[in-house]
Symmetry: C2
Subunit: 327 residues, 2 copies
């Protein structure tokens, strides 16, 4: 038997196995799939960074999907719509040393990585054609990364507002319109009271597994102070976030045998140099957060065909497992 | 450089690599990952099927996510919504022989598989609580299947309308409202004229790679005759669909070294014994089709964070590659 749980934010149903659930230990990768090529292009390169922040360096992507400075155009192609690729695609090299996993970086370096994301976001939003900036990480081949064992993350600045961001904003707005309270602030209160799905808490952040988790061990890191915007809200809290991220990543590494993972900073879109003109209430109804997802299962035909997800283990069980890992 | 292409049906942007595209041969899996366990539970089992159609047999899933006959209930859980799992989950065993890939089945067997989907759909919709039935296939471990080399597919009947189905219906309706023509009928006309993205055509079906393909080698099989409903539209065309599916799957097998793949039958939802009361114009504005997707790449953080997709190769190039495969 299973439960069907509804995501509070977007109207998505998740089928969560309960009675027949797999055990957390079933997700420990028996073979560690992390690979490392012999000659790291980042260690060998003498390319000049476009931005530095202490030991953290930002480069333009060597295989960019967006190229800055190209004229932006939309055009018709028969029935279809096409737009030139426009924006920027940057690689954040998180350490000068050849270390693969952010879990193994010094706290001070991780802190600078988050500070760097914020600084790049604040820069990109000055460009009036940029609608959204996503900072994210692909760690390990199963997470879509190339097999280069050098810790790095990516920043994409894009000229259109992504559909997933729109859906989240719309969901948060629907909740706010009804309750006149922020969904995420309510969620923090509920989860701290319930405590079953909470993994860690520090002064500024709560790490929890969402009630309708799509994937086994899916984690959300939510700031306790309401703010819709990562680049603004993170100021002064970089150290608290670095501490929590390192702790979570070490728990993944020890408890699940160094799995591949992704994280995505989920911040509000912006317009006109950082204002939120298109979304008048976005500042009160959205709340930035981070999704951190280890890549332990494959999405199959049912998920692709319906948009439903099937999660083979309830988040209450995986949260308990992660809480008990000794790092 | 790349192009950003917009999906006609749902408002989704896909970044398609063009100038720096990878070559089709880069997607041929160098190691074939298909596995096969020693003792096939389907060959060994003496379980009685719940339905038979010639050599095709339907069983209740051994690891069901939905259980028929349970009372259906929705309830509140703090802030959240929960519903009991309700519906059915069936396995369609496509052949009595231990053959793994549908590509290697006799045409007559494949024909019966599609006929079976239709018969099960027509049965499930008599149940007034069932809102949607999805027939789909997971082939190979990378497609989310267990490593059992016995050709089979699955049917899920669910009590809520899936979000992806709603999005597609809404997109098709938006197009129809504006043009007073079916999006898919227009798409067939455009693609036949363009011909670049067409792989195969027979009397009843067109196989093409969509303009805004999310994944390398993503194929849509679209019936030439307008019909919103697979279970109704397939009647009399099973043989034509079987022929086209076998041809496509053989091209995958030969050209891409037997890759894992999923297919999903995308049919309109129904209500009240097969009528479309909730969607008054669904019969004219939706058009059933099949998505067939080999699993050659991994979805990474950017896709997860934005709902955008990045396709490393344009569909025009993969369509040409598949057309030229000799089977």
């Amino acid at each position: 038997m299973a439960q069907i749980r509804k995501d509070l934010l977007v109207s998505r149903w998740v089928i969560v196995a309960t009675e027949r659930a797999r055990r957390p230990a079933a997700f420990v990768d028996p073979v560690n799939h992390q690979t490392d090529i012999k000659h790291c292009p980042f260690c060998l390169s003498d390319e000049k960074p476009i931005f530095t922040n202490d030991r953290v360096r930002v480069f333009e992507s060597g295989t960019p999907f967006f190229v800055d400075g190209q004229p932006f155009s939309r055009q018709k192609h028969g029935l279809y719509d096409i737009s030139s690729s426009w924006g920027s695609h940057e690689v954040v090299l998180e350490t000068p040393e050849h270390v693969a996993n952010m879990a193994d970086l010094a706290l001070a370096d991780i802190e600078k990585v988050f500070e760097t994301y914020a600084q790049r976001m604040l820069l990109h939003r000055k460009d009036h054609s940029i609608r959204y900036v996503l900072a994210y990480k692909n760690y390990g081949v199963a997470a879509g990364s190339r097999p280069i064992g050098h810790a790095r993350s990516q920043i994409m600045a894009v000229p259109v507002n992504p559909i997933r961001v729109k859906d989240k904003i719309a969901g948060a707005k629907r909740y706010f319109d009804f309750h006149e309270r922020c969904l995420f602030c309510d969620l923090i209160r509920q989860e701290r009271k319930d405590s079953q799905r909470v993994i860690l808490e520090n002064r500024e952040f709560l790490a929890l597994m969402p009630f309708a988790s799509r994937f086994p061990f899916e984690v959300w890191i939510v700031p306790k102070r309401h703010c819709c915007d990562f680049a603004v809200g993170i100021a002064g809290c970089e150290n608290q976030l670095a501490q929590m991220m390192k702790d979570l990543l070490l728990r993944f590494k020890v408890g699940l045998n160094d799995p591949a993972y992704n994280y995505m900073i989920q911040s509000a879109p912006f317009e006109d140099g950082g204002g939120y003109k298109k979304y008048p209430t976005i500042e009160e109804d959205y709340h930035w957060h981070i999704e951190l997802i280890p890549r332990l299962t494959r999405v199959a035909g049912f998920e692709r065909g319906t948009g439903f997800y099937i999660n083979p283990i309830p988040p209450e069980m995986t949260a308990e497992f992660l809480r008990e890992i000794r790092i």
